[in-house]
């Protein structure tokens, strides 16, 4: 079913189209809005503002569109990805959705290795893009998917192009070139703190570098689960995980440990108070950003909301909503 790959679509500059029109779905990656979420933290100094970058506005529905697009474009430019090859990677979901979307748009087949317990919505979205999925054990988490993917590659190394989001420098590069400059522009250079969760580390590393290059005093803080067994899909507890090659903890100014239950409660509160339904990693980012902001007299804190919540509606995230609602009847 795959015709000749549509390489030109990846290479063409978006500005070839009139404003407000796009020639390819890939031209719609990035340029996501910043939303003022200061109302979620009434305890803060009146001179502190909180902003969330709504990465769910990307066409594939998450921040992962950026890294995936940069890695695939680089693969095409270097010749590592060429007709006859299949894009393969291990992913717990959002990167898989991004790669499946990009593969569909460019005419390349995609194979994804993921734990069998990813949400039903994700499986359905990936299937809709025509990608093939190989499931690894849910007991082994994303590390199990990484190892299974390595094994598939060893069987037929010439068949595949592996973007390798955990080790590919184009992952943070995407954020150096897009997310960071977008935040700088949207805050008119006023950003003082940047907060993002750690999954591969690409977002926090790349965006942090871009912001520090413009103002070395910007503080870069990572949010991570408070325990190895957690419910913050998309985030990694670094002390007990395979540490991604692109993750360099020494570049961070701090880390905040996030309890799963607190992050879930913030997801519920965002829906009820702001009309914004996000995924659990956004709740984790807000938890960390509030913690950072409480110590400030003045500042502009920008956090990443990696995706919207519609792809988690069937997951345990919502198991506690009724109870939360009873505890917060006026929310």
């Amino acid at each position: 079913m795959n015709a000749a790959p549509r390489v030109a679509a990846a290479a063409r500059a978006p500005q070839d189209e009139p404003a407000g029109r796009a020639g390819s779905i890939l031209d719609l990656v990035g340029n996501t809005p910043l939303l003022d979420v200061t109302a979620m933290a009434p305890e803060l100094s009146p001179r502190v503002r909180l902003f969330a970058k709504l990465e769910g506005c990307n066409p594939g529905g998450s921040v992962k569109d950026r890294a995936a697009l940069w890695m695939v474009r680089h693969g095409l430019a270097s010749g590592a990805l060429r007709p006859g090859k299949t894009i393969i990677d291990s992913t717990s979901g959002n990167t898989g959705i991004a790669l499946a979307m990009i593969g569909a748009a460019l005419g390349y087949p995609v194979t994804l290795v993921m734990p069998e317990n990813v949400s039903r919505e994700r499986k359905r979205i990936i299937a809709a893009f025509g990608a093939r999925v190989v499931y690894s054990s849910g007991l082994e988490g994303s590390d199990g998917a990484i190892l299974r993917c390595r094994a598939l590659l060893e069987e037929a190394p010439d068949r595949y192009f592996k973007p390798d989001q955990y080790f590919n420098p184009l992952n943070p590069q995407a954020h150096i070139e897009s997310t960071g400059p977008e935040i700088w522009t949207a805050t008119a250079g006023q950003v003082t703190h940047f907060v993002a969760g750690i999954g591969t580390g690409g977002t926090v590393m790349g965006t942090g570098r871009a912001l520090k290059a413009r103002n070395a005093r910007v503080q870069v803080i990572a949010a991570e689960p408070d325990d190895a067994l957690h419910g913050l899909e998309g985030l990694k507890h670094m002390a007990t995980s395979i540490v991604p090659g692109i993750y360099h903890e020494a570049e961070l100014d701090g880390k905040v440990a996030v309890p799963t239950d607190a992050a879930y409660d913030l997801v519920y509160a965002l829906g009820a108070r702001l009309g914004l339904i996000v995924g659990q990693s956004s709740g984790a980012a807000l938890y960390a950003a509030r913690k950072v902001a409480r110590d400030l007299d003045a500042g502009t804190v920008v956090m990443i909301f990696p995706d919207f919540g519609n792809r988690y509606l069937s997951t345990n995230l919502w198991a506690g909503w009724d109870e939360w609602r009873q505890r917060h009847p006026s929310a």
Partner: protein, 91 residues
């Protein structure tokens, strides 16, 4: 023959690295108590302060989510398999 409990990677530091351990009990709750007796600290990871299974932990008894059985009161017998499945981690 006790209940076979499959341990996910993040909890294997409690079981000395074992992927599968045996535990006794006539209900899932009793099996969890026996796990705690053998591997102190593991119950706190699985259950909240009120003793309920944490939202982000899935317990599957012979492949069925105990939320659709009788939660911690689900009956177990020798030879059953209880899987502890965590949320996904990593991008």
């Amino acid at each position: 023959m006790p209940v076979k409990v499959r341990i996910p990677t993040p909890l294997r530091r409690f079981t000395g690295g074992s992927e599968e351990v045996g535990a006794d009990g006539a209900t899932v709750g009793a099996v969890v108590e026996d796990l705690e007796r053998q591997f102190a600290g593991i119950k706190e990871r699985l259950c909240d302060e009120e003793g309920r299974v944490r939202r982000f932990v899935n317990l599957y008894l012979n492949g069925d989510d105990i939320r659709f059985l009788s939660h911690l009161d689900s009956a177990t017998k020798d030879g059953d398999e209880l899987s502890i499945v965590p949320a996904i981690a990593g991008g």
